[in-house]
Subunit: 265 residues, 2 copies
């Protein structure tokens, strides 16, 4: 009925920029995205866009994600949307209910704690691999990054969360361990979602100083201290976020479906 053009994909190219335009300059300082490399397939493009939309809370937790709507939005077929949703489900950002459809993940408190627990283990592996092995250029990059974190601290909460995640990602990338990078990327995504859901305002602020200490310990080659700091850091981030979360969460849960219905999606 739509008959967009011919049939095959050679022309429909509305994929490249649909949700990506919202932010500042595309300077790739690790700030921008989880994905570093340019998307190779359309599936990846849609996947990246959806991930960003979810993590920026443009798509509320619990919101429905119909294949049709997504495909149409991005100018692709349901096939692509479907596959992107499937992969995001693996990442834990999307929940896939059989025969019912895809929803933005709405992690329970328990799942949130599980995620942080796994994250602590992974990040200790990171610190273990990095302690005393950082090259001068890497140290500079980290310090520079922390500077940037400090500059937005207390100003833009959402940006703070994003940068905090990016910091941990940056560390993981320095290990060069591809699998570790993938896992840290995943848990950081999940944690960012969780913090955006459960976090109180300013909850991520005081993390900056802890980041500084961690880098210092890594530079000093003190692995166990870096581990300890990282562990404490993550535990405290989780703790700060969760403390007052219980009631608020219920309200949000209850409200989300109505909000989605009103907005029409």
């Amino acid at each position: 009925m739509i008959t967009r053009n011919a049939q095959s994909g050679g022309t429909a190219r509305s994929v490249n920029d649909p949700t990506a335009k919202g932010k500042g300059p595309p300077a790739n300082d690790g700030t921008a995205a989880i994905r570093t490399a340019a998307p190779t397939s359309r599936t990846e493009a849609v996947q990246d866009a959806l991930r960003q939309a979810i993590m920026e809370q443009k798509l509320q937790p619990g919101a429905r994600l119909p294949e049709d709507a997504i495909g149409e939005t991005f100018g692709t077929s349901r096939t692509i949307a479907r596959e992107a949703l499937g992969r995001l489900a693996v990442e834990g950002l999307v929940e896939l209910k059989p025969n019912k459809g895809a929803y933005v993940a709405n992690p329970s408190l328990e799942e949130a704690l599980d995620t942080f627990m796994v994250r602590r283990g992974l990040e200790c592996t990171v610190t273990g691999l990095l302690a005393g092995k950082l090259k001068p250029g890497e140290i500079d990059a980290l310090n520079c990054f922390i500077e940037k974190e400090h500059s937005v601290s207390g100003v833009d909460d959402r940006e703070s969360i994003r940068l905090a995640g990016a910091f941990h990602l940056l560390l993981a990338r320095m290990t060069g361990n591809q699998l570790l990078i993938r896992y840290v990327t995943e848990v950081v995504s999940r944690c960012s979602l969780i913090l955006a859901m459960y976090g109180r305002p300013h909850s991520a602020d005081c993390g900056v100083d802890e980041h500084r200490q961690i880098v210092q310990a890594l530079v000093n080659g003190d692995a166990s201290r870096a581990n300890e700091l990282m562990d404490h850091h993550l535990a405290s981030v989780a703790g700060r976020a969760m403390l007052e979360a219980r009631q608020e969460r219920d309200i949000r849960d209850l409200l989300a479906p109505y909000a989605a219905r009103i907005k029409g999606l």
Copy 2:
């Protein structure tokens, strides 16, 4: 031209048992599979079957996995095969080359070491969560499992590797942490593939006793000792496997494509 039946999927049911028949009784003691729950979709069924085939080395590392052939084998369309391959790629058992197709993963020595490194971190999280928290029934289950491991030790290498993996999986499941379970499942899959590729005969044998010690430490609630044991255990498994691997691997790499061509696949 095939016109198998009508059109839709309501009837084509050759999915349920294609590669699964090769082994003993279907008693579900954790021996059988990575997947515990019955597959809900056809995609999952194919995915599980392929995973098993790969881990049993029925499909050699590096072998091509054409969508067509897989779909035909399992009595489904390429769509299903494609999606299953995609998910296995996420798990790291399949390598997906754009516009070229899917291949059974052929991890390099570096990737193998990366995997073991990540695994150590994850499994330490497992031991940390489990130390002193095991219920009597769980302890029994573990001891029973170790007994079984011991019985096949030195008899059936492939089975030993499988059981060793299943033991770690069993531990992970006892944490109840879904994400942790997923990650451990993945790394165990990968490590099983790696051990099957790189492992010398009997390389996994002496692991049984270490398993026993780990359980003992967990029962005693000695978290740090359990961690230490687990770490040492995994490092030694990795070490045993890798030691003589270098040359042999090159040969296998070179041979794999030819083997695949001869067998026609």
